[in-house]
């Protein structure tokens, strides 16, 4: 791992710690008699202080491996974006239909080109989710808003 990776890690951790530390000042203040000196902010500040010290140590740690980090392939970005698309689909068409659509879409995106296999596996997984969670455990799955909007 290169020094830059350590620096990125250390800077991100320190920045997050500083932001969180600042947020502890927004906590509601309780009377001293109630908190007995052990306010809600005490423990998070201790831990955040430790993170800051460790981040400095990390930034100063020597290079172990000069090789730069490999590039993130586009498929990773596409897969991460697909999570958000899935959530939009859940809102629009409901969870079960979104799952079926997602299984088809992601299968295609990841290179599956056999339509029968893709349809069958997507259908089976969706059916299994319905059978176990909706039917057996009676967990209500979210319905889509699109049909409701269309009906309105």
């Amino acid at each position: 791992m290169s020094r830059s990776a350590n620096l990125v890690g250390a800077t991100t951790a320190a920045a997050a710690a500083v932001v969180l530390f600042a947020l502890t000042f927004t906590f509601e203040q309780m009377p001293e008699g109630l908190t007995q000196g052990l306010g809600a902010e005490l423990f998070p500040r201790l831990v955040l202080g430790a993170i800051l010290v460790l981040s400095i140590l990390l930034a100063m740690s020597p290079e172990q491996d000069a090789e730069p980090l490999p590039q993130v392939p586009p498929l990773v970005y596409a897969s991460a974006a697909s999570f958000a698309v899935f959530m939009a689909l859940v809102w629009a068409i409901g969870m079960l239909a979104a799952m079926f659509a997602y299984l088809l879409g992601m299968g295609l995106l990841w290179g599956e080109r056999r339509p029968v296999v893709l349809l069958a596996s997507s259908g089976l997984v969706t059916l299994a989710v319905w059978a176990v969670f909706a039917h057996t455990f009676r967990i209500p799955l979210p319905h889509g808003h699109l049909l409701a909007v269309a009906a309105f």
């Binding site: 990125v8 809600a40 831990v47 020597p62 958000a84 959530m87 299984l103 990841w110 290179g111 893709l118």
Partner: protein, 493 residues
């Protein structure tokens, strides 16, 4: 003894037996899928336990943990891609054996060695956990604080790139545990006005995101690697000649694996690697290692399964998880309203003995299933990634959503999927974050209680010998790796 017999009697209950069988089957199946480790398997299937009784949940998790570890060896031998990191050492000789047409012999030895290692460690667990719990029974908040901090400090040696990175991840885990209403003052912390955060961050979506969704993104980066399965002849019990050759490796590795498993933060992967090295050292046929030596399969397999029982000792007796998987199991028990620790041995022994008996049963079950259905499990390992990983996403979503029927928790899982991917990319291990999250509340509560006992005098810890020893050990575990690294660097220059 009565309680243990009661635990064994639990297995006569058809429901519990079914749960153990389901846990074992699911554990082997999911564990056999390349890329899905024992921790991912446990995180993915954890939501199912929410619908179970505590005894059934604990039996399910216990059997799942044992079987997932064994499942990893099937792909290690047949596909040269360990289903679980702990099976990495098994590939060294398992795959060469399979390539020589001896896959059935390797799988048979793997099943038997795994079962012996697993059963050995469960016996140690049954004996050691109550003893350790008895020692810890007199612990007060200062001792518990010191113990939890010691457990956290041990995350420094849990995988990843560096001890400092592990400690940072562990501290962020502890910070996650502070989200929600502070129990002593009633003040909201880091909730950002979101109702879902008021009671704290739920374990399940965090675990699913960190392990399953981040792994999905990792797999997207590695897509295109083709797996080929070695030809599988009939899986059979090892011959007497093979057993005679391997008995020393199996017992040595079972002992080593159990001991390494008990140590905080050193899990099955380390146990298997050390066992491989030691098996080779004590073998009469050292030159055969790496070319398909059956001892090279027996040693690591006995060790990685023995580490499972070992890792459960501190988890159950002290409530301090030693690995990512035991942290997930601990989280599952907390979700069930059960907090493992010394008091559990007196208050709800039936839960503990449910773990012991389910783990014993799982070890016997996967021996039978491993021998009878290895061909089927091997087929499962070849499910193409474009079909497997979208299904993992769907299971992750339903797993995050189901316990509280909250879409917010699916968002949390997705967010932690991204965080987990970035953490791995920059060399931060995930296990410390999970251990920090699970232990965070305990650390804060016991620190505050201790400070109240000591009248806010921090030096009060020095007046408690056990706490003092544990804090000294913590300091040593933090400083020792730095000194070691420094001396190695000096020696090199």
């Amino acid at each position: 003894m009565d309680a243990f017999l009661g635990g064994l009697a639990l297995l006569l209950d058809p429901y519990i037996l079914l749960v153990v069988l389901a846990g074992t089957l699911l554990g082997i199946t999911v564990g056999a899928l390349p890329g899905i480790s024992g921790s991912t398997t446990t995180a993915l299937l954890l939501p199912i336990t929410v619908t179970m009784t505590p005894v059934a949940a604990i039996a399910f998790l216990g059997s799942l943990y044992c079987a997932a570890n064994f499942g990893g060896s099937i792909t290690a031998i047949l596909v040269n891609a360990p289903g679980d990191p702990s099976a990495s050492a098994t590939t060294f000789d398992g795959y060469p054996m399979a390539a020589k047409g001896e896959a059935g012999r390797a799988l048979g030895m793997s099943a038997v060695a795994s079962a012996i290692g697993g059963i050995f460690s469960v016996v140690v667990l049954i004996i050691a956990a109550p003893l350790l719990a008895r020692v810890a029974y007199s612990f007060g908040p200062p001792e518990y604080f010191a113990l939890a901090v010691f457990g956290l400090s041990m995350v420094a040696v849990t995988g990843g790139d560096s001890a400092v990175k592990n400690l940072i991840a562990g501290c962020f885990g502890v910070m996650l545990a502070t989200v929600g209403i502070d129990l002593t003052t009633g003040v909201e912390r880091f909730t950002f006005g979101l109702y879902s955060f008021t009671d704290g961050i739920e374990f399940i979506p965090v675990l699913i995101g960190l392990f399953a969704l981040s792994e999905l993104l990792e797999q997207a980066a590695a897509l295109g690697r083709k797996a080929t399965i070695a030809k599988l002849d009939a899986v059979r019990l090892p011959s007497w000649a093979d057993m005679r050759k391997c008995w020393k490796a199996i017992w040595l590795s079972s002992g080593l694996g159990t001991f390494i498993g008990i140590l905080p933060a050193l899990g099955a992967t380390t146990a298997a690697m050390i066992a491989y090295v030691e098996t080779r050292r004590w073998s009469n046929e050292k030159d055969q290692f790496g070319k398909g030596a059956i001892e090279g399969v027996a040693g690591p397999e006995a060790a990685n399964n023995a580490a499972v029982g070992g890792a459960m000792v501190p988890t159950l007796a002290l409530g301090i998880p030693g690995s990512a998987t035991t942290a997930i199991i601990l989280a599952g028990l907390i979700v069930q309203g059960v907090r493992p620790g010394p008091h559990l041995f007196n208050e709800q022994p039936q839960l503990l003995y449910a773990v012991f008996s389910s783990m014993l049963a799982a070890n016997l079950l996967y021996l039978v299933l491993g021998l009878a259905a290895a061909r089927l499990f091997a087929r499962i390992s070849l499910i193409p990634p474009p079909l497997l990983w979208p299904a993992v996403f769907v299971l992750s979503v339903i797993g995050a959503y189901a316990p509280n029927q909250s879409i917010d928790e699916v968002w949390i899982a997705i967010a932690f999927g991204g965080i987990g991917f970035l953490m791995r990319r920059y060399g931060f291990a995930l296990a410390p974050l999970v251990i920090g999250l699970v232990l965070g509340r305990l650390v804060e509560e016991t620190l505050k209680q201790s400070l109240l006992i000591f009248d806010q005098n921090w030096t009060g810890f020095l007046s408690r010998p056990i706490a003092l020893v544990l804090l000294a050990l913590t300091l040593a575990s933090l400083i020792a790796p730095q000194i070691y690294a420094l001396t190695r660097r000096r020696a090199r220059t």
